[in-house]
C-alpha cells in the first residue's frame, strides 16, 4: 500500500532530574497517498514531536513507521518539511533557495532551472527570483519555503505551523495557495496548526490530539478542503457545518486546556 503508515508509535524520554516524560503514546495512523491531514491540539500535546518523528529528526521509542512500505529511519528527501519561519538560507537568493534540493542531487543545471522557474510561477515570485530572501516579506518567505519543498518532489510534505507567523490577510491567501498546491501536485500533506479554522479548511482529515500523554483524541473526515479548492475560502467558512464543527472542536480543546490547568493546580 502506498502512503504513510504509523503503527503504535510511542515516545518516552528521561529528564535530567530523574523523571521521564511520555510525549506520545500508541499513535496509529494511515495516510493514503494524496491525503491532506491537519493536526490540532493544545500546546504540549506532542504535535511537533510527532511531526519531527515522521520527518526522521527524532527516533520513537516504540512503534513502526513506513512510507511506501519502506521503514523510516532518518530524514530523507522523500519527506519535505515547511517550517514556521527562519528555515530559509539567507546567504542564497530566492532562486538558489528553491533550487537547493535539486542542487544537492546534482541535477543538471537546465533541468533545475526549469523546475525553479515553474515553481516560482506557481507561487507568484517570478519577479523576486534574484532577490535575497531577507528582502522579502514574511508571506513571500513562506512561499519560497513551499516552493523549495516542492522543488524536491517529496512524497509527503510536513508542515509545522507554516502560516503561524503571518498576518490574518496573508494567511488567508496562503491557505488558498496550500489548497491549490495540494490539488495540483497530489502530494500527501500533514499540517500542524493552532488555528481551528485553518485545520478545518485545510484538512481532508483532521485529528485532534490530547496531551499527557500525547495521543489521538478524535478524528474527523471533512469536506471543506475539497470545497475550498474551487470556491472562495470565505464562502466555505459560511457553510453551516463549518460553524458547528468549529464550535465542537473548540469546546473539545477548551475542555482539555481546563483539564491541564486543573491538574497543574492539584499538583501544586
Amino acid at each position: 500500500m502506498s502512503g504513510l503508515s504509523i503503527d503504535k508509535l510511542s515516545m518516552r524520554f528521561d529528564l535530567p532530574n530523574g523523571g521521564s516524560v511520555q510525549a506520545l503514546k500508541d499513535i496509529s495512523l494511515n495516510l493514503k497517498a494524496g491525503e491532506l491531514m491537519s493536526v490540532l491540539g493544545p500546546s504540549g500535546c506532542g504535535k511537533t514531536t510527532l511531526l519531527n518523528i515522521v520527518a526522521g529528526f527524532l527516533a520513537p521509542t516504540e512503534g513502526k513507521m513506513e512510507l511506501n512500505e519502506k521503514q523510516i529511519s532518518g530524514p530523507d528527501a522523500d519527506r519535505g518539511m515547511v517550517f514556521q519561519q527562519g528555515a530559509l538560507f539567507e546567504w542564497m537568493s530566492v532562486r538558489e533557495n528553491v533550487g537547493f534540493g535539486p542542487s544537492m542531487k546534482r541535477m543538471p543545471k537546465a533541468d533545475k532551472a526549469e523546475i525553479v522557474d515553474h515553481l516560482l510561477d506557481v507561487v507568484g515570485l517570478q519577479d523576486f527570483k534574484e532577490k535575497a530572501v531577507y528582502e522579502l516579506s514574511g508571506g513571500m518567505q513562506q512561499r519560497v519555503a513551499l516552493a523549495r519543498c516542492l522543488a524536491n518532489d517529496p512524497d509527503v510534505i510536513l508542515m509545522d505551523e507554516p502560516l503561524g507567523a503571518l498576518d490574518a490577510l496573508t494567511r488567508e491567501k496562503m491557505q488558498g495557495l496550500v489548497l491549490k498546491l495540494w490539488k495540483e501536485t497530489g502530494k500527501t500533506i500533514i499540517l500542524i496548526t493552532h488555528s481551528v479554522e485553518e485545520a478545518l479548511l485545510l484538512g481532508e482529515r483532521l485529528i485532534v490530539m490530547a496531551p499527557r500523554p500525547g495521543r489521538i483524541h478524535k478524528e474527523y473526515r471533512l469536506p471543506f478542503a475539497e470545497m475550498g479548492v474551487d470556491a472562495d475560502l470565505r464562502e466555505v467558512k459560511k457553510h453551516p457545518d463549518f460553524a458547528v464543527k468549529r464550535e465542537e472542536i473548540l469546546e473539545m480543546i477548551w475542555d482539555m486546556e481546563e483539564e491541564i490547568m486543573g491538574r497543574t493546580e492539584e499538583s501544586k
Binding site: A87, E90, A132
Partner: protein
C-alpha cells in the same frame, strides 16, 4: 588641571555655538521629528559638527600647550621665560655689614649657543654675577664665588631683591624664582609658564617633521615602512595561522561531542590568559626572533577564532539544518551549504576582534624585544628621550589599528551581506 578646564570650556562653548548656528537647520527626516529622544537610543546620532570640533580641539590643545607655530602666538598658553633677567642679593659679612649685587641671568633654549652677558663687577664686597639657564631649567648660582666677602669667612646671603631669606625660602623674581639652598646659595628656577617642554610633549609640527624625516631616512637601520611592515607582517601571519587552525578546531568543537569535551577545558583555560602574559615564556622557548612573535600572535588569534567558529556553528537555527536534511543534503553538503555560510558572520566578528588583539599584542611584544617594528621604534625612542618619535609612533599605531578594523568591516559587508538578517 588647566588643560582639563580648558577642554571642558571648549566642549561647552562648542555645544552652545553649534546649537545656535544650526538652529532651525538640518534635514527634516523621520528621526528629527521624534519628540522622545532621551532614552530612545535609535534617536541618538553622532553630531558630525561635534566630531569635527572634537578632533580639531585635540590638536588645538596640543598646539596651544606646546607653543606650536601652527597657531598664532596669541592663542598660546603663557610660555616659559626666555631672555635676560636680573635679581639682587644681599650679603652680610662676619662684621655685620651688608652689600648688594646684581645677578644677570640669560634664559635660553637648551642646546642653543649663548654668550654669557658681560657685566661690571660693581663696587662693595659683593660683586655682580652672570649665569646661563636653560628654558624650563634650574641652576644653582654660586653668587659668592667672586665676592670679596667669602663664605668661609662667615659671609652669607641674607636677602633676595630686598626680601630677607633663610635656607629653603623662595622669592619670586622677574622671569623665575630664587630659592636659597641648604648651603645658602641661590638656586634660580626659570619660569615655566603653562606650556609643556618638548621633552614631555613636542609640538605637532615637530612630530610631523620627524615623521617626514624618518619616512625619508629611516630609523635604526630600517625605514619607517619596514618597521610598520614588519609589525603588519607578524600580525597577518600570526592571525592566518590562528585562523587556519582555530576555525576548523571551532567547527569540530561545534559538531562533535568528543572534540567539544576534549578541547573545552583547554580553550576555556587559554582564552582568559592575556597573550602578553605568554611573552616571557615565548621568549624563553623561542628567543626574541620572528618565530617567537608569530607563535605569540598565533596563540592570541587561535582561541578567539576557535570560539567564534564554535559559536557560529551553535548559532545555526536548527530548522535550517533540518530543512537541508529533508531536502536530501548529505553531511558534507550540510557543512558546505549551511553550517559554513551560517557561521561566517560570527567568524568575521571573531576575526575583527582577533586582528585588534593581535595588533595590540605585536606592539607589546616589540616593546619587549625586537630589532624592527612599530613597538620597537617607540621603545627605543623613549630610551633616547625622542618624545616626538614616541608620539608619532603612538599615532601611527592607532591609525593602523583603526585602518585594520575599517578594512575588516568593509570585507564583512562585501562577503557576508546576510549578517544579522536571519
Amino acid at each position: 588641571m588647566i588643560p582639563l578646564i580648558l577642554y571642558v570650556a571648549i566642549f561647552v562653548a562648542a555645544f552652545f555655538v553649534v546649537r545656535m548656528v544650526s538652529e532651525g537647520r538640518g534635514t527634516k527626516d523621520y528621526i528629527s521629528l521624534k519628540t522622545v529622544t532621551f532614552g530612545d537610543e535609535s534617536a541618538v546620532r553622532p553630531n558630525r559638527a561635534a566630531s569635527i570640533i572634537s578632533v580639531l580641539s585635540i590638536f588645538f590643545m596640543w598646539a596651544t600647550f606646546t607653543g606650536s607655530t601652527l597657531i598664532p602666538s596669541f592663542l598660546h598658553m603663557p610660555g616659559p621665560f626666555e631672555g635676560t633677567t636680573t635679581f639682587n642679593y644681599t650679603v652680610e659679612n662676619a662684621a655685620g655689614e651688608q652689600d648688594d649685587a646684581t645677578v644677570t641671568v640669560l634664559v635660553r633654549p637648551q642646546g642653543e649657543d649663548a654668550v654669557k652677558p658681560e657685566v661690571e663687577a660693581g663696587d662693595g664686597f659683593a660683586k655682580n654675577d652672570t649665569a646661563i639657564v636653560n628654558k624650563w631649567g634650574t641652576k644653582v648660582i654660586v653668587v659668592q664665588g667672586n665676592d670679596d666677602a667669602k663664605k668661609a669667612d662667615g659671609a652669607k646671603v641674607v636677602a633676595i631683591n630686598g626680601e630677607p631669606v633663610v635656607a629653603r625660602t623662595t622669592v619670586v623674581v622677574d622671569g623665575g624664582s630664587v630659592t636659597l639652598t641648604d648651603k645658602g646659595t641661590p638656586n634660580f628656577k626659570a619660569k615655566t609658564g603653562w606650556q609643556m617642554a618638548p621633552l614631555y610633549l613636542p609640538p605637532p609640527e615637530k612630530v610631523w617633521a620627524r615623521t617626514l624625516e624618518i619616512a625619508n631616512e629611516g630609523y635604526r637601520n630600517f625605514s619607517l615602512w619596514e618597521h610598520v611592515g614588519y609589525s603588519l607582517f607578524r600580525v597577518v601571519v600570526g592571525f592566518l595561522f590562528g585562523a587556519i587552525i582555530g576555525i576548523p578546531l571551532g567547527y569540530a568543537m561545534g559538531l562533535s561531542n568528543w572534540f567539544r569535551g576534549w578541547f573545552d577545558p583547554i580553550v576555556e583555560f587559554m582564552r582568559p590568559v592575556p597573550p602578553l602574559a605568554l611573552i616571557p615564556l615565548i621568549i624563553i622557548w623561542f628567543g626574541i626572533g620572528e618565530t617567537g612573535k608569530i607563535i605569540l600572535l598565533f596563540l592570541a588569534a587561535l582561541w578567539i577564532m576557535a570560539i567564534a567558529a564554535r559559536s557560529g556553528v551553535s548559532g545555526v537555527n536548527i530548522a535550517k539544518v533540518h530543512a537541508a536534511y529533508s531536502l536530501g543534503a548529505s553531511k558534507p553538503q550540510i557543512m558546505r551549504h549551511v553550517i559554513i555560510p551560517n557561521s561566517l558572520p560570527e567568524i568575521f566578528t571573531g576575526a575583527r576582534v582577533a586582528m585588534g588583539v593581535c595588533w595590540g599584542t605585536v606592539v607589546a611584544a616589540e616593546l619587549v624585544a625586537a630589532s624592527q617594528g612599530a613597538g620597537m621604534m617607540i621603545m627605543v625612542a623613549a630610551k633616547f628621550q625622542q618624545t616626538d618619535i614616541v608620539v608619532m609612533g603612538i599615532i601611527m599605531i592607532g591609525v593602523i589599528g583603526f585602518g585594520i578594523d575599517l578594512l575588516m568591516r568593509w570585507a564583512e559587508k562585501i562577503l557576508v551581506p546576510w549578517k544579522g538578517k536571519s
